[in-house]
């Protein structure tokens, strides 16, 4: 046991002094504890009376300390399992120490003696905490399948999206104005389009283009349009029938109940349908 510890110490320190690679978090665990053991060894040497020590000797003693603790653990576990138990007891450890050549009787005396040097614990670094002013809202609590030592959920505003809509304007006056201006624009655009593409008549003799009027085509039977219901009127009649049958009040029909007589009579059927579609779109 002792020889194995020495050779392991020699080999370990030999490789360690040659290599200086970067440490990953897994190595940091080992290194942190090893550093603690080094501090302990240094304080024990100081207690013994040494002012300084060679690095190689400190490394040797550190390695020995680590091996000693590991060997005690392994041997005590073996003794305990030898007697068909799983939990090591005090007698297992005492027998282990005796087997390793350690004089157990001197231990209480040593415990009373060693009251000189106390090593302060290394400072505990706190986790970075976001200040109160920056947190917004309550963090979501951990669901039951996540252990409590895991980090908390981030602030809710970082992952929750709440889309907002601007409330549509429902002021009656604004809506009426909008509807009226839209209707006037549509009419103007359409009449200009018809004038530009179709036949035109002009009131002024020399100036044709400034105020074009859509040419009026007289019908062969002029009274036919007065007798037959237009498509618009037929649609109105269908819709009034269906609205009487349904219990719901259909707001779409309200503008239609405004007397259709105040539409200009000169508009053609295609234009009437387009106007009707725009009128529906406003409601």
């Amino acid at each position: 046991m002792a020889d194995a510890a020495a050779t392991a110490g020699a080999a370990g320190s030999g490789t360690r002094s040659g290599s200086k690679q970067s440490t990953n978090p897994a190595d940091n665990y080992h290194l942190a504890r090893r550093r603690t053991l080094q501090v302990v060894v240094s304080s024990l040497l100081t207690e013994a009376g040494f002012e300084s020590a060679e690095k190689a000797s400190v490394e040797t003693l550190t390695e020995m300390l680590q091996s000693y603790i590991s060997e005690i653990g392994r041997s005590a576990k073996s003794y305990c399992e030898h007697t068909a138990r799983t939990q090591p007891t005090l007698s297992d450890i005492v027998v282990t120490l005796v087997e390793m050549g350690f004089n157990v009787d001197t231990l209480p005396a040593y415990a009373k003696r060693s009251q000189r040097m106390v090593i302060t614990a290394p400072p505990v670094t706190n986790q970075p905490v976001t200040p109160k002013a920056l947190t917004a809202g309550q963090n979501r609590p951990h669901p039951p399948h996540i252990p409590s030592h895991f980090p908390e959920f981030p602030d809710p505003h970082t992952y929750i999206k709440t889309p907002t809509y601007r409330e549509p304007v429902s002021d009656y006056q604004v809506l009426r104005e909008k509807a009226a201006s839209q209707r006037r624009d549509v009419e103007r655009a359409l009449t200009r389009f018809m004038a530009k593409t179709g036949e035109t008549q002009s009131l002024f003799k020399d100036d044709v283009s400034t105020f074009p009027l859509i040419a009026a085509r007289p019908f062969t039977i002029p009274y036919l349009t007065a007798l037959l219901p237009s498509e618009l009127e037929m649609q109105q009649m269908e819709e009034t029938d269906s609205s009487e049958q349904d219990e719901q009040t259909d707001t779409e029909n309200l503008p239609l109940h405004i007397s259709p007589g105040w539409r200009p009579v000169a508009l053609r059927k295609a234009e009437e349908l387009v106007i009707l579609r725009f009128w529906f779109g406003l409601c």
Binding site: V40, T60, L65, E71, G101, Y110, S114
Partner: protein, 131 residues
């Protein structure tokens, strides 16, 4: 267990303790347990517990961990004391002035540590240089 110790007494005592199982080792150990409190131990419980866990030893009682760390401390301090004796012997053997009583600064070197360890049966051979 090949421990060629120079002290015959420490070897006889464990031999007698091992031959008389039960009461002989158990008498001294409970005395050590209340004496070894956490404040006196240099090695933190977490570090000792970590190395014990790596060896497969799961401690049920924290006092057991403190006992083990105390035993390990004593082990190292015994070796350090032996090395100090070697260092003092080398200093006064050369016949330096007694008034100074050797410089107060003792440095632990491998030349002092090696014979101290060999008495415990640990043979270290450190290379002086890299080839």
């Amino acid at each position: 267990m090949s421990c060629s110790g120079s002290g015959a007494d420490p070897e006889a005592a464990p031999a007698s303790a091992a031959s008389a199982p039960g009461p002989a080792p158990a008498v001294s150990a409970p005395a050590a347990l209340p004496a070894g409190t956490a404040a006196e131990n240099k090695i933190p419980d977490a570090v000792t517990g970590y190395y014990l866990n790596r060896a497969g030893f799961e401690a049920s009682d924290p006092r057991i961990i403190r006992l083990i760390s105390l035993a390990a401390q004593k082990f190292i301090s015994d070796i350090a004391n032996d090395a100090l004796q070697h260092c003092k012997m080398k200093g006064t053997a050369s016949g330096s002035s007694r008034s100074k009583s050797k410089d107060r600064k003792y440095t632990l070197t491998m030349e002092d540590l090696t014979p101290a360890l060999s008495e415990y049966g640990i043979n270290v051979k450190k290379p002086h240089y890299f080839t």
